[in-house]
């Protein structure tokens, strides 16, 4: 007998449901698309370790029935680097937000990308600080409103997918919560890529971004994202004016190259007759 419940529920800690996300928040959708992406790979869920920073989006690992490290604001990639280098056999996945990854954690982001460490990073970009109540973030569009941009943001936003591609990541894609199939496919590719994979998900925070920007319901936000998304191939033929306010979706980088933990392993092999040390805290000295 198959349980009559969502096929994605089996990956979750049932005793913690329903999760804390507001009605219509994109975080829950990203969670399911991750599991669908994972099902497309031959990775064993038992071998997945999740790491996150602080923010609504960073709460995702707490609901997944796997090892998870919910760390400090912006620093998920630092912890994930230690976890992955410490045990390269783990499939380490990082969930982060636009504030977490691009503001307080921006330096860690570009350096993790530069090292091309084999992590799959899913960055939920809702263009706002959800958890702290709707302040603008480094990706908030010019002119959008937040509790700290009462007159509309005048700052230039980051283009995360481009930024991380330029920093050296070997797989980068951007999709939205309104493209769940393409998104899960990108996550699958990210998981399979032996290097730094960055999947930016443009998502809805109906509670803060929506309410502050004249989209009262989750559906209005959902529709807004859908209508403004434009495929990268089409976007390439359009000029700047036409692209104003558009969300360009698709693949931004796919160029596998030397990866950090492989390099460390090789260095150890060249210099020692011992295999790479794993879980050595449990071992007696010989």
């Amino acid at each position: 007998m198959v349980e009559k419940e969502s096929p994605y529920k089996k990956y979750l800690r049932e005793e913690r449901l329903p999760h804390i996300f507001c009605p219509g928040c994109g975080n829950g959708t990203v969670m399911s698309t991750f599991f669908k992406g994972l099902e497309g790979t031959d990775i064993d869920f038992e071998n997945v370790a999740m790491v996150s920073g602080i923010g609504c989006s960073s709460r995702i690992p707490g609901y997944a029935k796997c090892d998870s490290l919910h760390t400090t604001h912006g620093r998920a990639l630092s912890f994930a680097t230690g976890l992955k280098v410490g045990n390269p056999d783990l499939d380490v996945v990082v969930f982060t937000g636009d504030g977490d990854a691009a503001s307080i954690g921006g330096n860690h982001l570009i350096h993790a990308a530069r090292r091309n460490i084999n992590l799959t990073v899913i960055c939920i970009n809702n263009n706002i600080y959800g958890m702290t109540g709707g302040q603008i973030s480094p990706t908030s569009p010019k002119g959008s409103f937040g509790t700290t941009a009462p007159y509309g943001s005048r700052d230039m936003p980051f283009n995360l997918a481009e930024l991380v591609s330029a920093a050296g990541a070997s797989y980068v894609a951007r999709w939205t919560t309104t493209h769940p199939l393409q998104l899960s496919k990108a996550i699958q590719k990210g998981l399979e890529n032996d290097g730094f994979s960055f999947i930016e998900v443009v998502s809805q925070c109906p509670t803060y971004f929506g309410r502050k920007n004249k989209m009262k319901t989750p559906l209005q936000m959902f529709e807004w994202i859908k209508e403004n998304s434009i495929n990268k191939r089409r976007a390439e033929k359009m000029d700047e004016a036409e692209l104003e306010g558009k969300i360009i979706v698709g693949e931004f980088a796919n160029n596998p190259h030397a990866e950090l933990t492989d390099n460390i392993k090789k260095l150890a092999e060249e210099n020692s007759d011992k295999p790479l040390a794993i879980k050595s805290a449990f071992e007696e000295l010989d």
Binding site: N47, S78, F79, T81, G86, L90, N271, K274, A281
Partner: protein
């Protein structure tokens, strides 16, 4: 076989880490600690270990915590500005009960201060630097040999109590060269895995003054680790006063209630002493000569060296205060540990600070002069 070498303190620290089975290092260069990172980058590949130069100290502290949960003994090394940057993640180490070792080779401060000069500038930062209530463990070496020994001890204590442990060295011990004896029977504490249980496994279900065995990620326990206040399952429970009180009190008690096992002091000539010099770290190096000179003149001077400034050896100080009339505290700062000594002495002895900054260690005569002044 016992091995004898002549090495720099920072090198001895790296050798100690390797001896303790540390196989992961993440760090960011900073004087006067840099040689530790450099040594680890040379040594680790030879032992099948991993070295990563991170983008800053915040990342370094995060990386060693991540590595610890991967099942490795992990260490970083830094100095003043770097230790300031690490504080938030060190606090995360306390609440998540992650064994890590932080080497702090102290230098003249505040701010960038005196990069190449010695100080005991962070004695209190290690105690109170991260926000909130917690009980740290710290060891302060006064020689190259102790830098080696205490680094190993730091790993052992980190594993035993599941806490971040700091080695509070300073530029003097970090950069001096001395004889180092590497024994062949080094005692190492290995991490204990929890037993696989059927039904619900409670990763943070510990006695009120203790901790629990710690699995590695990938061991199949599906553990959730968070810096939020959490219950026995590891799940966030941030609004219940009882959950928070129970957790934080336990985190403190697991160190405080084992103070006797953790604290270490070295007493010399204390039994008949009227004046006791209480030192910690490098200033101890000048105590012996001052004490000898005073004793030769018939002044009854003793020495109590604190190996573990944290948890503070309160009882040992209280005991001294009962028999001695005066306590002298030479410190390479303007007064940090002296306040703890005063607190522990309960007014039973006069406590005198010899606070010295600028980067040069106390000369024996500076301590001797204080003895003479007190002796009248």
């Amino acid at each position: 076989m016992v091995e004898e070498r002549f090495v720099q303190g920072n090198e001895a620290c790296a050798l100690g880490a390797i001896a303790a089975n540390c196989r992961f290092f993440a760090g960011y260069p900073i004087t006067p600690s840099t040689e530790i990172a450099e040594q680890m980058s040379i040594l680790l590949p030879k032992y099948g270990g991993s070295f990563v130069q991170m983008e800053d100290e915040i990342a370094s502290a995060g990386a060693i915590i991540g590595a610890s949960w991967s099942g490795m003994k992990a260490m970083t090394a830094t100095s003043g500005p770097g230790i300031s940057l690490m504080q938030e993640n060190i606090g995360y180490g306390f609440i998540t009960e992650t064994p890590i070792v932080i080497i702090n080779v102290q230098r003249g401060s505040p701010s960038t201060g005196q990069p190449t000069m010695s100080a005991q500038a962070d004695m209190m930062q290690v105690r109170w630097g991260s926000h909130g209530d917690y009980e740290p463990i710290a060891l302060a070496p006064s020689s190259v040999q102790e830098f080696f020994d205490f680094t190993i001890k730091a790993f052992n204590l980190a594993e035993e109590y599941r806490v971040p442990v700091t080695v509070l060295a300073d530029e003097v011990v970090g950069h001096m060269r001395e004889k180092l004896i590497i024994p062949d029977d080094i005692e190492i504490v290995t991490r204990k895995r929890p037993e696989k249980v059927d039904g619900q496994y409670l990763p943070f279900d510990a006695p009120c003054d203790g901790t629990t065995p710690m699995p590695a990620f990938g061991d199949g326990f599906n553990i959730h680790v968070t810096g939020l206040t959490h219950d026995e399952r590891g799940y966030p429970d941030t609004n219940d006063p009882d959950t928070h009180t129970k957790l934080v009190e336990r985190l403190c008690n697991k160190v405080l209630m084992h103070r006797k096992d953790i604290c270490s002091v070295k007493k010399e000539n204390c039994d008949d002493a009227d004046i006791v010099i209480v030192s910690c770290g490098s200033p101890y190096r000048s105590v012996g000569a001052a004490m000898k000179k005073a004793r030769e003149e018939g002044i009854k001077v003793g020495s109590l060296k604190i190996d573990t400034p944290w948890p503070f050896p309160e009882e040992e100080i209280a005991e001294i205060a009962k028999t001695a009339s005066d306590i002298i505290v030479p410190e390479m700062n303007l007064g940090q540990i002296v306040h703890e000594v005063e607190r522990a002495a309960h007014g039973e002895a006069n406590v005198h600070l010899i606070g010295k900054i600028g980067g040069i260690l106390h000369k024996p005569d500076e301590i001797y002069d204080k003895i003479k002044e007190i002796n009248g």
